[in-house]
């Protein structure tokens, strides 16, 4: 374990626990907690209550100070007015960690935030780790550490297992817990972090990534203030091959705005979270059902080794609905090889044998047929996952026993394949089938979706996890940031991004000469360190076909801009050859408040911008990530030469993206954003036609325009 996660051991695996605010009243949070621990916890348990006496047969200490030892964990359930003192007494005693339920801190505004800062100071001063405030605590099911006031109805059927639930929001955590319980999904730890003044989501995630009791991490995230910390935790989970199945709230604009007001912290751009998740193999679920579906299949260890799905079914219709879902979720439905199809036809002449393989209900009445079909599919199809739809076979223990007898040895012969039986079943028959090594699920479409999720996770594990950015430069950037398009293009060129040839002309004659020398037709654009959006002020002339026209255009642009923006400094006009007719892209880098520089690639042109066809990745990029960004574009076929166009230079685009990533990272303390719009991608090479660099106004000197 790393140093940071070791310090959470006393919190999540305490040998002794004290409950502050303990009471005999189970409707109170402290009373409920004491009862929960009293029933299940196997370590040393202390009740603390100002009035002393005895609760549930336990001696009640009047203060933590009176305890015979400094407990590993104090669960603090006191009103907000008493919280600071209670935490202070715990820390003074040498208590190693505390859970604080109490609300009335950062979530209520400025005053609460101050109180919360004070809380953190107290804990930090004595090295006590603090979970909360405003949280629901945590549960360790196997050890019985129910450090939470969660009620008996939700707790009663929770079974130990190897799935951890981690949530900032107590309500989201509680719902996930309730659904896990309904499904009989076994849990290791359940943790809610609330206001996370000390122990936060990312730290808990890192702990779970290294926790021996946990295989699968089900997570509910509102946002983080420290992007690098979250990335480091996700890297750890990736390295340990532990899937992170995520419900991230704030996908919509209204949602994101509400997250900001709800958590009182920066939420960051949801699309950037998506990019982070994609790069780290995190699976983002759309609702609780999907969250649990994926966690359940992951807990069974059904990771397909490839993205090919085989479907064996007793019903053509259900086979097709599963096929539809598989394709929608990015799985491949490779057909069975022709010889294998012939062998299956020989067994059941009316079977459909391509894929889906519809063996008809003969598979139920004659289990040997099921065996033949399943074995053939596994052996000849090469599918990483095979899903077998068996209708209501599982409602009859007789049918189930006959089936398992017929299938003897099949599971063992293909140990690495993800095999799922989808059927209606009873608790008894399901247990029987699962004891034989086959997983039973009950909804065909969602089963396929869950297998697809695991195939994606499994594929992400085959890839390297993206590197963390290097620590930011110690000194602030001293370089002068480019102002105006000419300087921006030079800045990009110096970073290795090909840029269009151009001349700055400050007279009509110079413009004409530049047009002649650069080659017609040309584009003319007003040059000013003060104008970011040149077309908005009438500062652009395109497709200028002759020298004379270039001179006229120069005069017109200067006149127009002097009229529309009399206050700006004009350096003249930038003249560049027209490069048109190929594919316009937009390349950009933008500093995200949470995650630092984000590289953006989009299709340009008016339609593509309207369709927002954009892919994002955090810097630093490697070539694989750059290629993945390109493939993610909906318009990707256009780059490959769709619709009779030539194939474009993908290598050049990868190079430009990598250079942009390096540039954005090197200047991340100084640059707010870089926009290359358009970047014209050609069959050979590519070229930045326009560029805009926006510097952080607080951090750096900006060029005041180096030319007159």
């Amino acid at each position: 374990m790393s140093a940071s996660t070791t310090s959470l051991e006393p919190l999540f695996r305490p040998r002794s626990v004290a409950v502050l605010g303990a009471s005999a009243d189970a409707t109170k949070l402290g009373g409920r907690t004491l009862l929960n621990l009293r029933e299940r916890y196997r370590g040393r348990l202390y009740a603390v209550n100002g009035r002393g006496g005895e609760i549930h047969g336990l001696k009640a200490y009047k203060s933590v100070a009176e305890l015979p030892e400094a407990p590993d964990l104090a669960v603090v359930s006191v009103p907000v007015g008493a919280a600071l003192e209670a935490v202070e007494v715990c820390a003074a005693k040498g208590t190693r960690s505390a859970v604080l339920y109490t609300s009335g801190f950062a979530e209520i505004g400025a005053e609460g935030r101050k109180l919360q800062e004070r809380l953190l100071e107290i804990a930090r001063a004595r090295g006590m780790r603090l979970l909360g405030p405003n949280c629901m605590g945590f549960l360790d099911i196997a050890q019985g550490t129910i450090a939470s006031f969660i009620g008996p109805a939700t707790l009663q059927n929770v079974v130990p297992g190897r799935v951890a639930i981690l949530s900032q929001s107590g309500a989201i955590g509680t719902l996930a817990l309730a659904y896990a319980q309904e499904r009989g999904l076994g849990l290791s730890l359940w943790v809610t972090t609330g206001n996370q003044c000390d122990v936060d989501f990312s730290e808990c995630l890192a702990y779970l990534a290294e926790d021996d009791e946990t295989d699968v991490i089900l997570a509910g995230l509102e946002g983080t203030a420290d992007g690098d910390k979250l990335r480091a935790a996700l890297r750890l989970a990736h390295a340990q091959r532990k899937p992170v199945v995520m419900l991230k709230i704030g996908r919509s604009e209204v949602g994101a705005a509400a997250v900001v007001s709800h958590t009182g912290s920066l939420a960051g751009n949801d699309a950037v979270y998506d990019a982070v998740f994609r790069a780290h193999g995190v699976y983002r679920a759309e609702n609780f059902s999907e969250l649990l579906d994926v966690a359940e299949v992951a807990a069974a260890g059904l990771y397909p080794e490839n993205d090919r799905l085989g479907i064996v079914t007793v019903s053509g219709g259900v086979g097709i609905v599963m096929a539809d879902e598989a394709l929608a979720r990015g799985l491949k439905l490779v057909p069975m090889p022709p010889e294998a199809q012939a062998r299956l036809k020989a067994i059941v002449p009316f079977a459909a044998v391509r894929n889906p393989v519809d063996a008809t209900t003969v598979m139920i009445t004659e289990p040997k047929v099921l065996r033949s079909f399943l074995e053939e599919t596994l052996e000849s199809g090469g599918y990483g996952a095979v899903v077998v739809f068996l209708a209501t076979l599982g409602m009859s223990i007789m049918h189930v026993e006959r089936m398992l007898t017929a299938l003897e040895g099949v599971r063992q012969a293909y140990p690495k394949r993800a095999i799922v039986f989808v059927m209606a079943s009873t608790r008894e028959t399901r247990a029987r089938v699962e004891a034989a090594g086959f997983r039973v699920l009950d909804e065909p479409v969602r089963s396929v979706a869950a297998l697809a999720a695991l195939a994606h996770i499994s594929a992400a594990w085959q890839r390297a996890c993206p590197a963390l950015p290097p620590p930011p430069p110690r000194a602030r950037a001293s370089g002068v940031m480019p102002a105006g398009e000419a300087e921006a293009l030079a800045f990009l060129a110096s970073a290795g991004i090909p840029t269009v040839a151009h001349r700055l002309a400050s007279t009509r004659e110079a413009a004409e000469r530049a047009a002649r020398e650069l080659g017609l037709p040309v584009a003319l654009k007003i040059a000013s360190p003060d104008i970011a959006h040149k077309s908005d002020v009438g500062g652009i002339a395109l497709d200028v076909a002759s020298e004379v026209e270039a001179g006229k255009a120069f005069a017109r642009l200067m006149r127009t801009v002097k009229r529309t923006c009399p206050e700006v400094r004009l350096e003249g006009v930038l003249v560049a050859p027209m490069v048109a007719g190929w594919l316009e892209l937009i390349l950009g880098a933008k500093r995200d408040a949470i995650f630092g520089p984000v590289v953006m690639l989009g299709l340009g042109g008016i339609y593509a911008e309207t369709f927002a066809d954009v892919s994002l990745r955090l810097a630093p990029l490697d070539a694989g990530a750059a290629r993945a960004m390109i493939r993610e574009l909906k318009g990707y076929p256009l780059l490959l030469g769709a619709r009779g166009r030539p194939k474009l230079d993908l290598k050049a685009l990868v190079g430009a993206l990598l250079a942009l990533s390096r540039l954005a990272l090197a200047h991340r303390d100084a640059i707010e954003s870089i926009d290359i719009n358009p970047f014209m991608l050609l069959p050979k090479g590519g070229v930045a036609l326009d560029a805009l660099v926006v510097a952080d106004p607080l951090r750096v000197r900006r060029s005041r325009g180096s030319r007159p």
Copy 2:
């Protein structure tokens, strides 16, 4: 009831039933059916079995001929070799309807198809209606007519109610039944149509639309061979305000291909089904969970009157995840009015009061606060639906009783609002809350999705249902179909679609003259009745800037095409003014094999075509449908003048779509497809720049080129 549905009365509501192939062995289909009916059916029941005797205390007749009456319904469970005879005997007796389980008909290929045709002849000759073959029969839960071999485990908890399940596939129907039973969703009829040689999906749908016992129709569809019949049934459901919640298989290409091979019939284009569903307000679910979610909320009658959702929550996080889903599903999260927000703040100072309204857990501990928040939301927010998230409140009957006391009268005061409580609950508490008139659901995200589905259905009921196409003209079209672009443009112009001015030039001089007269620059396109795709053969010159250039282009095009296609007839070159710079659209009409003419609107240009931004509607269109098609385009903002462009003439586009719809419908027996690509939409008007009409080669004479 209409005539066609009346004839299904003896089938679905029989006063007497005979089971052919009855036996005492409940593992056999006939035995199981007899047992099912024996236990539940209240009409006169007859067992028929070649061996005679007695089964379950019922006299077994050796033949239907011996029965004391002609039964309303015969359920036939005999091997395929005996099926025709059994059906013949039933028909001869005067039996009014039959269910035939037997497989081995059309689903196995040509031989089976013949057998099935014979079956139909027999039934039709005596006016006997036939459900099947290769089906699982049907259930009428309330009447106990279990005309199916479905097993006791699936049947045992099925309760009567007002939701009907209709499915071609027995397996899909059975799954839907199993899920309905798990949820306690009450059913009226459950029908599987199998090979539907006589009674088909559409006819059953029409029956259910008119059935007094049914409010909600849950349907599983593979495809139909008769598009107009399906549309007529959907119109009936629309007219009766009965929602159709649909699982349509074959969304993917693999799926669609499998449907064709599975059903042995034309499946049609899935996108066209989507268009049909959208136009008729059918809700298409993605999986069984969603299918049941929507049916469940529909069964509760929770139809929002508008698309605005109010969210009241005890948890900020869950509120946000619901908000995300609402927006993704097209609901509007209108904020509470400022005065209302102030009133809520006065009650709970730390509440979020915009929308989502997060009143915190105070709503649970103080039910009066819940009342205030809910009333304020209903009264001031104007939301068609309000969803209230209450975490685990429903796990405690005490909390539930306190809540219901506090809420007294609220439900009655807002009878038309869709109010849903989302919380964990027990069977007991849920029943208690629902008795008080509030619906309880348990998954917040899916609950919002289901409310959104009902809002869409409800909105579709406000709109007129699209008209059915008029019957096809009795005589085959006698008109000569246009060949070549000039005739195609003239054909469109005669139908009222504005087309670009153009001249056919057969000499270089004529081309120059046309260029001069039409106005420069011009486009030149080769004119031949034999060339459909002019650019493929080098037959197009664009942006020709002068008369001289036009002459040169004429010569070049003629030369090139004579070389590339020496065998075609060349009429010359079409000269037209260039119309560029506005929005290129693609308009089209294509005859679907199932549904007839389909009108298509897409954004043109290379990007938009790659993104396949297209909307479809069946002809005939009305103006509302044409406007809906336009709004459905992802690139719709471009038409409204996004990105600094002028607003384009939507009225002209609507007019062109309507004219195209009329044209395609009038010539539906003669025209395979019409393509207008591009149709240039302008700020004032719009114009077809190119057109291609493809005639049905079997049906009509095609112009042989009226010009030399």
